[in-house]
Amino acid sequence: MAKIEEYIPIVGQSIIDDLKLLAEKLKGKVIQHINSTSVGGGVAEILSRMVPLLKELGVDTRWDLIKGGEQFFEVTKKFHNALQGGTEIISRHDFDIFMETSQKNIDGVDTYGDIVFIHDPQPIGLIKKKANNKWIWRCHIDVSNPNQRVWSFLKDFVADYDAVVFSAPTFSQRLPIRQFLISPSIDPLSDKNRELPQKVIDSVLSKYSILKDKPIITQISRFDRLKDPVGVIEAYQQVKKYIDCQLVLAGGAATDDPEGMKVLEEVKEKAKQDRDIHILLLPHNDIEVNALQRASTVIIQKSIKEGFGLTVAEALWKAKPVVASKVGGITLQIKHKYSGLLCHSIEGASFAIKQLLNSPEYAKKLGENGREHIRTNFLLTRHLRDYMLLFLSLYHPEDIVYL
């Protein structure tokens, strides 16, 4: 686990100094994060890095979990999909299950923090325990177009919080409480993002029989329709008519996810016998993902819907030219023609890829701009700063706060 001082060569001493100044202002406050799992998933990943760093900075930060059975998590999974605009059918019984488990947690979880920081819908009901302390609800989900039944059910809880945090402006809702915009971040020192020796990159390429004899176009994503892997192959095929190149589609697909396996089959069918298409079903292996990104000439993220799109941030951090759909949080990361190219269609994606492959200097400039944009706005250190400012804002309602 990296120490805060190790970020100095990446972001500069003064950024770390600012974090220390903010941490001093939070002396005496206990921050209590609560979510539903300590492993797996983006929230646990972020918390497992943030909590130790906040502690190291001197902010008394704790992390607690709620409990829930299989049925409860099935319901919250349904909520999750419905909030992202899915067509889930949610019964009265589902809401009852949710309330029942919430009540057990209300009875069993000690909410001792001066600031109680609740992540995602699973523990949202704990707000019923609100005393004189401050409560924040952190929504990590794309709620730009939520199922109204589920949203209005949750909204009754949300309204009792002191503040809510969303990842993108499009997720914001009409609410009677303060709403803040805090984007997710990547950790430049994690296995997925740290610098890798060339021999590690080469060994990963060799493991998957990928030669470096032609440009590599890569999309890293799970095999999911919303990531449009079939569309990526079509874009590649259009490029391939003019430029000899290869395509890497790499990502996970849980074997217990029937939809994911079906998409994978469709992708394989679409790729047919093209030996230049590499479909890699990667286990959770961050170094391999890192190596594939670093070996790529162009990285694509042709999502149809996207909460934030951390793979875009990962690619830009490696100074790679990126072609990505103009959806969700991707637009926060890429300004068209400044830090990457945005597209709306397969044809648009293929045109952008051709432009980048044919103009390496332009591609390089976009990649460099992208890296600096990520350095300033989407690294873990910025996330730490925003969280500390968020905590302080709970005690300062004004627009200009003198600390």
Partner: protein
């Protein structure tokens, strides 16, 4: 090298950090944009006219504000985009007058191009109004003369430079930037102060601004 003048009062560097607060307000047409611009708090206008300075300081200085970017990219109104982008932000000493200029620019455009009223942004590309909550806090850096000042300027965050140049001038309604005020009143060098306040910070990236101010001071102390 001439002897350095000791400042009457030392210069304490501050930093300004911001948190983005969502308002839940959104526009998909020019009329909606205009109506909301008239109503939102000044910290909202500030956010959308100054955000790019901090978030994109390594890119070329354009695009200078969110309104210009949105009308161009989401509505395809390039001419209005250009007019909004070329508003000379430095001429406005407060947010109120900057807001009025933006309103006037959009209203005039709509008078002459009534068809522009009919355009809608695509779903998901609406303009979302955000406001900046600013946190101002003193850093541990203090300069007692121009040499100290130069050394610190080289290592402070761009947020600190931002605070002393932009925040002081526009939002806190000071006539010039903090650096020039200190150099004039505490060092007694009006010429140097004027040189720095004469820079147009809005057409430079913050890193470029840092280097330019440093060069001006370096030249002065090496004379």
């Amino acid at each position: 090298m001439p002897e350095l003048i000791k400042a009457k009062e030392p210069f304490r560097f501050y930093t300004r950090l911001h948190l983005s607060e969502l308002t839940g307000l959104r526009a998909s047409t020019l009329n909606q944009l205009l109506d909301i611009i008239k109503e939102v708090p000044g910290s909202c206008i500030y956010h959308h006219t100054h955000r790019f300075l901090q978030q994109h300081q390594y890119l070329s200085p354009e695009p200078p504000n969110d309104f210009a970017y949105w009308v161009t990219e989401a509505l395809g109104e390039n001419e209005l985009g250009e007019r909004l982008a070329s508003i000379d932000t430095i001429q406005f000493s407060n947010i109120r007058s900057l807001r009025e200029k933006i309103i006037e620019t959009i209203e005039n455009y709509l008078k002459n191009s009534p068809l522009a009223k009919l355009k809608f942004s695509r779903e998901g590309e609406e303009f979302h109004f955000i406001k900046s909550v600013s946190f101002v806090l003193p850093t541990n850096y203090v300069a007692y003369d121009l040499k100290d000042f130069l050394e610190i300027l080289n290592k402070i965050t761009i947020d600190s430079i931002y605070f002393h140049i932009f925040e002081a001038r526009l939002r806190l309604e000071k006539k010039t930037n903090d650096f020039s005020i200190w150099i004039e009143t505490s060092i007694g060098d009006k010429e140097l102060a004027d040189k720095i306040s004469g820079l147009d910070p809005y057409t430079r990236t913050l890193e470029d601004l840092r280097k330019t101010v440093m060069k001006i001071i370096e030249r002065k102390i090496s004379v």
